[in-house]
Each structure stands twice: as C-alpha cells, then as structure tokens.
C-alpha cells in the first residue's frame, strides 16, 4: 500500500526535497531523536540559522519527517511501498535512498515506541512458588496440610504489582493442566489458520 499524504504534509515535506542527502540525513537523525525524547525548539533555531531559512520551515520539515516515519511504521510499509510513497513527493534517487535507510534502520525502534504508547492490559511478569507444610495453628495442633504459596508479579502501565496467593496440590495440578490446554490451543489447526490469514 502507498501512504496518502495530506496537502499540508506535502507542503511541509517539500522543503526537504531539495536538500543535500547529508543534510537530509542530519534531519533524519534529529527526527528520530525527537520521536524518542520529544521535540526541542532550540535545535530548530540552530539549524535555521545555518541553512538561512525561517525557523518555521525547519520545524515543519522535521515534524513532517517524524510523521512520515511514524506513519510508515504504523502500517509496516514494505521497502518498495515506502520508496514509492516517497517518490510521489518528488524526492530524487539519492535522497530517497537516504530516507529508506533511515526508515529500515529505525523501524523496529519506532514500532516499539508506538507499542509503549498503546493501550496495555495488566500483564504477567513473574511467578515464584514455594511449598509449605502447615503443621499447627492456634486452633488446631498436629496438622499435616500441604500448601503451595505463589507470588504473582503483574505489571500495569509500567507499575509492578505483587499478589500473594495460595493453593493446594490438587488445585495446582488442575490449574497446570487447564493452562497447558490453553497453550495447546494456539497450536491447533483453527488458530494457526486464522493467524496465517490475518495479514
């Protein structure tokens, strides 16, 4: 698939079309930095002075490039689709190669940054278990009750949460079996077929 650009986005990127591949690469590095850490207006001023253009033009260019990168990563464009999309903006062969290099090099990182921004469910982190034998309590001596203590660590929005749980051997075996069937299910023909067909 090709990216569809809005007119304003095209206009912002048009400033980059005539740049030297080296300068364009510099812009690319700045964009990646901003995607990682957020924008820093001081950088725009410096670059604008060097190139002798208005600060706004530089800012639009960098932000346009950031948007181009994140959109391409969002749709996981193939290399050919990326090049074709960029070609419609009027980039020449050399600058196209520069942009492609930037895209392929950083695709994984941008995807993982996007993943972090996505909605997350509380998810599993770690489980620790220990096996105890209850021997006595205040109300009853001479006991022999096996118990399995579990410490479940889950994570939600980067925050870890620890839950103490307990179970008996019968339920432990039961729970293990049930979750084993759950794992097997992903290997079933039905699930594999669906996974294969969703592209």
């Amino acid at each position: 698939m090709l990216l569809a650009f809005e007119d304003s986005h095209k206009e912002h990127l048009s400033f980059l079309v005539d740049l030297d591949p080296e300068v364009l690469n510099e812009f690319g590095l700045i964009s990646m930095n901003f995607i990682r850490k957020g924008t820093n207006p001081k950088v725009f001023q410096g670059a604008a002075q060097k190139l002798g253009v208005p600060v706004e033009t530089v800012q639009n260019g960098v932000e346009g490039l950031m948007f181009l990168l994140t959109e391409s990563c969002k749709y996981m464009l193939s290399e050919i689709d990326f090049q074709d999309s960029v070609m419609t903006l009027g980039f020449g062969e050399e600058t196209r190669a520069t942009l492609l290099g930037l895209y392929t090099e950083n695709q994984r990182e941008v995807r993982s940054i996007l993943q972090e921004m996505s909605m997350e469910l509380p998810h599993y982190r770690d489980l620790e278990w220990r096996f105890d034998m209850q021997l006595a309590s205040r109300s009853l001596r001479h006991q022999m009750v096996p118990s399995v203590l579990l410490r479940l660590v889950t994570e939600d929005e980067g925050e870890k949460k620890t839950t103490m749980l307990e179970t008996d051997p019968v339920n432990l075996v039961h729970m293990t079996r049930v979750l084993e069937t759950a794992l097997q299910e992903m290997k079933s023909g039905y699930c594999r077929r669906i996974a294969r067909n969703i592209k």
Partner: protein
C-alpha cells in the same frame, strides 16, 4: 493439654450425678458437641425441654466445662488415656468416662476439621479461566498480530462467601513461562509425595 481450675470445676459439675442425672448425660454431651459443630445449635441446651428441670446456672457452668474440654481435646488431639485420667480426677464414674469417650471419639474428626478451617491464609486459588485473543491492531499501530491470553484466577478468601477473580493478560511466551513454572512446582510435589 492443661485446663484451669475453674474449667476443671465446671467439668466436675457436668459429671456430678446430683446435678446431671445419668440418663441425661449422653444427651447433654451430644448437645455440647453439636453446639461446637453447628452455629444454629449453639443455644440448644437452653431451649431443650429435657433439661428444663435442672438448675440454669449449674447447667450453664457444666455446659461451658464440657465445651472447653471438647475443644481443647480436639485441638491437642489428646489420647483417650489422658482424657480418662482427667475425667477420673474430676470424679467421673467409669460408665460416664466410657460414654464420654464414645461420643467424643465419634465427633472428634468433625470438630478437628472445623478447627483446621479457622485461621488466616492468602487468597486460595480454586480454579482458572482463560481466553485466547488475537491482537490485531490499535490506534497507533497496524499489524500487531500476536496471541494474547486473558487469564482469570478464581480465588477463595477465608471468611468471604464469594470467590474473587485475579485477572491479567499473557503473551504466548509469558504463558509458556507461567506454565513451565507451575509444571516445575507440580513435579516437585509429585516427587515429595513418592518419598
């Protein structure tokens, strides 16, 4: 098992023919056992017409003595021999000792079961539900395409009627990790059981 002087006094009271006639002793002891076991029988002695001729204060003291003895004996799993010795010291006749042992031994395991349930514990896992989703995309990203399991652990909490759910999600790898650890624990238990 050690009992205080006042408790011993109350136990003696229950064994005294002058206060509790022989034919009522068995019934009285059964009432005490039931009172320990079932909440609704807790006041059975007061309402029971069989005991209406007995003096209320004595009945109450005797009842508390027997209940304490039953609970302490069950708690420490006291031997019949020790109970007999104790009852002898409280001036019980051999017949009454025999009757006590017979009725108490029959109820002991139930009482111990009940005593074993008292106490605190962490939420106890009794079941687990799972659901398998295929995560396709979100507003920031297309083609996420990975399996996500939603796991819900059903737990019982001591003193609460309802079960409580603990929910979390797992990727395929995370579930493999979880199941691997549970399998380890199961294997370890099996090994211990064989010894």
């Amino acid at each position: 098992m050690e009992l205080g002087a006042s408790v011993l006094e109350n136990i003696s009271l229950a064994g005294d023919v002058a206060h509790i006639p022989d034919k009522l002793f068995g019934k009285f002891l059964m009432c005490a056992c039931q009172g320990v076991l079932l909440e609704k029988h807790r006041d059975a002695v007061a309402d029971n017409p069989a005991f209406k001729d007995l003096e209320k204060a004595t009945l109450k003291s005797a009842y508390s003595g027997l209940v304490t003895l039953i609970l302490e004996a069950a708690k420490h799993d006291t031997t019949e021999q020790s109970i007999s010795t104790l009852l002898e010291e409280c001036k019980y006749t051999p017949e009454r000792i025999k009757e006590f042992t017979k009725i108490f031994t029959a109820q002991k395991s139930h009482i111990q079961l009940l005593l074993g349930k008292i106490g605190s514990s962490f939420p106890h896992i009794v079941d687990v539900d799972w659901r398998l989703d295929y995560y396709m995309k979100n507003n920031h990203m297309e083609k996420v395409n990975s399996a996500v399991y939603l796991i819900s652990l059903k737990t019982e909490i001591p003193g609460e009627a309802d079960t409580r759910d603990i929910q979390f999600s797992c990727s395929l790898e995370q579930l493999q990790d979880l199941v691997g650890k549970l399998r380890d624990a199961t294997k370890c238990l099996e090994k211990i059981a064989q010894v």
